[in-house]
Symmetry: C2
Subunit: 378 residues, 2 copies
């Protein structure tokens, strides 16, 4: 019997983590505020409760030997108390706390010498108004942004009206050529392994990944640089678990750290079919202190996020399922979310093929054919 694992958060990441943990006989408990969270029906134990409430998180943690997360927005005071009592909390509470705050994250990169876009920390909108010289820039809320929310571009003075009021990071707008990500794992014993870099193409409106290519279409020396930087980052953090490191490559060819997430990540879903060991299994191996898995690519792949169509809401309706399932190497993953809203991540599809041209063709077909939308017009 393995150590009992408690996970804070029951979204799609928790769901896919349970699918993988099942193969190791890991008894997993989930804490989430939503009774119908994607991971709820698969969890051996499910507790409904607020991830931000200290006593709820603390009480939940009592039942487990090992505690991990699938979302950063959790109460870290409770995690620190659990750590102090000898529980294993991976990633460690202090690291979650650092990453929760995009301001602290940026200061960490600067202090440790990791290249990152120039930035200012702002307490409120008033402070921002004094920084018109810094435009064009991206304003990011220091806390609680997710899936493209809490991030906006401020190109010129006339944009300042829509600026966020809350504490934020103002980051010089990078002239982006490509966005890539490297997932790196570090086990409790200190073993480190990276996944080959992937490349993200963002949806122009929703600020969400629309296509993801594995491997990234970059030069070998750039891939090595990103790989080394991801290793250095997790080493410097001293983190145990999985860290997704997102990078910008600017038009001058500079590699800049954008941000990190200390958990399985959207930019690693294709590893389920495309790589020898999936990111979910890798996360488990890291936190259980088993040898890390082989992260090599077996088959090139494209990941497509299945986002709710605009203009509809309500119970999800899938169109084009039979057409896409007729194609070899189309792997569907639905997240079990009942309510479909515009741009909500309802699932993903990984398309695999050894032939890159055919891979692109298939991905395009899937993109144009498979749609998910709510039953009702908005």
């Amino acid at each position: 019997m393995q150590k009992k694992l408690g996970i804070l958060g029951g979204g799609q990441l928790g769901r896919m983590l349970i699918q993988s943990a099942t193969d190791f006989n890991i008894q997993m408990g989930i804490l989430d505020s939503q009774l119908e969270a994607p991971a709820s029906s698969l969890a051996k134990h499910f507790v409904q409760g607020d991830l931000l409430d200290e006593e709820t998180v603390y009480a939940f943690g009592q039942d487990y030997d090992l505690i991990s997360i699938e979302i950063e927005k959790v109460n870290t005071a409770a995690l620190k108390r659990l750590e102090a009592e000898g529980k294993k909390v991976y990633p460690q509470a202090a690291i979650i706390e650092l990453i929760q705050d995009k301001g602290k994250q940026k200061e960490f990169y600067r202090a440790q010498g990791f290249p990152t876009a120039d930035f200012l920390l702002l307490a409120n909108k008033e402070e921002l108004l004094a920084q018109t010289d810094f435009l064009p820039a991206v304003q990011k809320l220091r806390r609680d942004g997710y899936d493209g929310k809490g991030v906006q571009v401020l190109r010129q003075e006339s944009d300042l009206g829509k600026a966020f009021e809350a504490p934020s990071v103002l980051e010089k707008l990078v002239d982006i050529q490509q966005e890539i990500a490297v997932i790196v794992a570090r086990s409790a014993s200190g073993e480190i392994r990276t996944y080959p870099a992937v490349e993200m193409i963002f949806h122009p409106e929703a600020n969400l990944v629309e296509y993801l290519f594995s491997p990234a279409r970059i030069e070998e020396n750039m891939a090595q640089k990103a790989d080394q930087m991801a290793k250095d980052l997790i080493e410097k953090l001293g983190m145990v678990g999985l860290l997704a490191v997102e990078f910008f490559i600017d038009r001058a060819g500079n590699l800049l750290v954008n941000e990190v997430a200390p958990r399985p990540h959207n930019s690693g879903h294709q590893s389920i079919e495309g790589n020898v060991c999936s990111q979910f299994e890798q996360h488990l191996r890291a936190i259980y202190d088993w040898p890390l898995g082989d992260s090599q690519i077996q088959t090139p792949s494209i990941l497509l996020n299945l986002l709710g169509e605009e203009g509809f809401h309500g119970p999800a309706k899938l169109e084009g399922l039979k057409e896409v399932l007729a194609i070899s190497g189309v792997h569907l993953h639905l997240y079990g979310k009942e309510d479909c809203k515009p741009f909500r991540k309802m699932g993903h599809i990984t398309v695999t093929d050894q032939n890159l041209e055919r891979l692109m063709e298939k991905a395009r077909f899937v993109k144009n054919t498979l749609k998910i939308r709510g039953l009702h017009r908005i």
Copy 2:
């Protein structure tokens, strides 16, 4: 929302079926007599009840649109009533009934012209005693044999003392050169797809598969013959779902049908990592009448059943886990069975590698290193 799926049986096959069904948002219910069955904790709905009791199975079926099985030993009278009321039952009740009885199975092969070892049907031990001329032979109980139980070799007259009393099939002992299996799927629309043949090496004592090679080490024309025979068999049965067809190849090079199972099967577990579409997803595609998946081999693989060690019983204890996880392409699947008994199937390992020599080497290492046994000496 997909049609609700009710599965009779909650063993490891049901467990792996849920892992796959999760990706299609299929809400699955499980009926099993054991509260702690391997699939119980993952099932959206779990009902504890006797699979052989007509009213239990009938009542369970009421809650689902589609009913399938992961074990043949179920009450088919209930399934026939459900069919009569318009429920989809795949595989169909009449086919389960045919396959439940090894005597009827053999008669079917003979009547339909499928080559199979010569046989006699015997009502009891007394009838057997009159058939000493038929030895050496294999006696198989017509009903309820599984995992090597209910099957024995009777070489000579002196073996007859241990003969089974119950109705049985007496089958001429085949001088076996190889044992292979082909898994074939047929969808409700009649689309048919086979998996490339695999080769089984049996444990000498336990009569259970010890190693399985994918693909089988056979000539191309033999592979084609087995492939065509599996297709003809499922077509002749008119079955919807997955059919595992086990064959003997005798020393004269004849291909003989041994027996079939109308569900995901131990000889297809390696398809999770080794083939484009796993047998579990294929089963779902067939019964939901979706296009069948690509069954091609992506990576050659060896499957090892993880059997409880002799001499021990009680809570399962795993040895050698870290050593085997350190090897690339070792995929562990534990079935969540608490009680470990000698030769009980506690899990399996799929080893993948493009290089066949390295593949064999890894499999041998795993076989010698990873052990599971009960906590207590017997």
